[in-house]
Amino acid sequence: MPIIEVNHVTKEYRLGQLQSLKHTLQRIAARLRGQPLPERPLFKALDDVDFKVEAGEVLGIIGHNGAGKSTLLKMLAQISVPTRGSVKVHGKVAPLIEVGAGLIGDLTGRENIFLNGAILGIPKAEIRKKFDEIVAFAELEEFIDTPLKRYSSGMSVRLGFAIATSIDADILIVDEVLAVGDLAFQRKCFDRMEEMIKRQGKTVLLVSHNIRQVERLCSRVLLLDHGRIDFAGEPRTVCDRFYTKNDAIIADNSKSLSSIARNTYQTGEIELVSATILDSTGHPITRIPYKADITIVMRFKITNTLRTPTFGAGIHTTDFLYLTTHNSEQQVTLEFVDKGECEIHCHIRTLPLLPGPYSWRIGVTEGDAARTVFYAENVLHFQIVADSNHPVPITSRQGFFELDANWSFESEPNVKHTPAVAGRAVH
């Protein structure tokens, strides 16, 4: 039996705001006289959303801002009710909708543990039992009797997370909470979540913009788009689709170079005129076959003579994880480049990226001190695609790169080898 049933749920909000008392009275008067009422327009935050979650499943919910993710979680946590349809939850729900909701600055850490625990529905006896564990996890032994208002923001968030994750519930509802604290603590949070999910077999609903995290933790993912379920299924497929979609939106929003580029920096001495990817036959492409040879062509307009310039190009994911960078330092040695337009080529043999969306970042430095004169991220989007001519080996499916690796079984006590099969599958 499914532990969560969401049956054709629609949630509508009225746009605009509640009006003044005078307005309300006028509306009541109009209603009493039987006159038609001017209705405020409706907004569908969720539109006929329908799915079930089995016990032990870890369901990720992704989608752009305003897709209805948080609204959906609010329905599941009973905070809000659907306009139409129904939500059935069989079991105790621990809503981690926001870590630290209800922490109070004037109370000490100790007092807050008991208060927040009660708010989250943890019995007092259990909080007592877990008290030391919570304090230890939050790394707050020294400060536990200090009022929360003297804590750093990281400390209170750590406390909130430690309390919230000590709930003994069947269903965890997690909304963007994993990214708390500094890096070391984030790691700890992540481990704890993973422990709760994988080891304790809890049912988890995870909403996050961190798609990698969702992909890693979840067994199934829902992609919401404007309140509708756009796609549901295996994490990798759904996440890829989300990336592709995101890319389409980004590309749609801005056809020109300058507007899609992010984090740009330029001194004005040099401008990027265009950047293109050419395939091995010299045709511009944005969908690159797996393991293809490509050439990036960058055209710059130089407005001030550059001394010993170095050009660099790197690849990053759509969430700005820098995968690799390469620069011209040892291959192109120029004493200076005069004003005018110039074209730089960077030829790459068998690009080893696995299928997915990526983007280029480009930079130019000048002189031996490598003074940056131009830098831009997200300059040029491209996608690596696999097809029957360029299949991805089944041996490297996850991550970004294919490793050139060979496996062998060295000691042989008692094994039998199957006849070698040329096992290659299309991803």
Binding site: T24, K74, E111, F114, A118
Partner: protein, 272 residues
Amino acid sequence: MIQAAKNLITYRELLAVLAWKNIALRYKQAYVGIAWAVFKPITLMLIFTLVKSFVGIDSGAIPYPLLTFAALMPWIFFQEATADGVGSVVSNAHLIRKIYFPREIFPLTTVITKLVELGINFVILAGLMAWYGFMPTAEALWLPLIILYTILASLSISLIGAAMNVYSRDVANVLPILLSLMMYASPVIYPLALVKEKLLVNQAAGEWSGTLYTLYTLNPMAGIIDAFQQTLLHGQPPDFSAMLPGMVLVTILLPIGYMVFKRAEAYFADVV
């Protein structure tokens, strides 16, 4: 209503912790601490005693300060529990948007918080009684029931008021004004016995006297305050004829208020 009682048991720990939080927050970083709870009734008692020396109010066999303090205790409890209860849902909006538990927890917590302050006032009352040489009789055992009834009377207003306040903040603004007017329509400054004498014995309003008296006692606080004084100071059982109209009103209002509150509850998070 049965569900309400069940919730009360399930969420008793939360109720207790939230009430403790309210009290802790109110008196933290204040040197006098929780003793501030007695400040208001004592000040009012002194003022009323001063006024009384000009206008002359017949307090019968009971010294006036004692009589008025015994009236101020239930009155201030009722007034503050109701006024704070009406604002309690809105002032906890941050929790309402994030976590679910039955929302009546908030008005209930307010009542419990005020109950603790009422308890502290009993210490002062005991002191006053000892000073004037009054010993409580067995009739004082009525008190828990009277206080319970005061809680129900307060909730019958605060539940519906809290729900309305989510949609229109006017409610929380208007209510304190209405409540302070209501004080004059309650036997706080003067004893109920005076009203009774004027209307029932002297028939001051002619044939309307009986109706007026019923109207007056429709205010639950009329009966409650009188019962406080009867059981604690006079050593008499409560005057049920003075409590009846108010009880009828509360019996009607409370279920309606609760139903309205539960109906509106589901939308609090969307609106607040």
